[in-house]
Symmetry: D2
Subunit: 77 residues, 4 copies
């Protein structure tokens, strides 16, 4: 069965305090070499053969992401 | 600058009520052809050239996922 | 040890698609009498006696919430 | 209209890596006096007068929390 992944992230101009918290924690714990962290949501949908990208995009815009503050990407796995 | 993506999902044997809620909502809203939804977390890390997969895996196990209940995958973008 | 709870929600004028998904699922599953659902984040902090509300508010604004899109409330438990 | 709040947290014996990340970040940023952070989910439901606690508990167990790994509390606001 096909699986499609939808990843939702805050738009890049919107501050992500929890990503910032992870970045601070990395520094504190001695991890060197990470300069940015953004956190988002990840969805995996098992779909029938007939489901196409435009339908998944409509689902993402309606139920998974708020297009005003978030971007999403989708890819088939 | 390289970017690495870490996706964290509940292990498949652990019930995901919010994925279930999205699946019910899809049915209610008339979307046909989706048979399963799982929700997880998505992280994007901007890293230096010297950061390798094993270091990202250690970060994921320590700060991003709980290995007892969650799986993670990572890929370079 | 005192515990303080910080609850973070999207500002009321910002659409919450995942709250909407839960609301649709409730209807689909036959639950009657719920007219709105909003989803947010919940944090529990164990703090020393000397930690006061203004310090917790600074923590919330910096690490837990994005004041542009989210509101937070705090209360002692 | 009555509002009921459901807060969902990982059971106390289950490691919460993102709470740990916030705690590390607090130390790194110079905040003194916080000894523990747990992260959870927060839901606000607007309900009719006829909705009682047992119905909200059923909703929480079905759609908001996974009772195997999470606890929830509910209170009227």
């Amino acid at each position: 069965m096909p699986r499609v992944v939808v990843d939702v992230t805050l738009k890049s101009e919107i501050l992500d305090p929890q990503g910032q918290a992870i970045l601070s924690a990395l520094t504190r714990l001695g991890y060197i070499g990470v300069s940015g962290v953004r956190q988002g949501k990840h969805f995996e949908l098992d779909v029938d053969e007939g489901v196409d990208e435009s339908m998944v995009a409509r689902i993402a815009e309606t139920l998974l992401a708020n297009p005003v503050i978030e971007d999403f990407t989708l890819h088939w796995q």
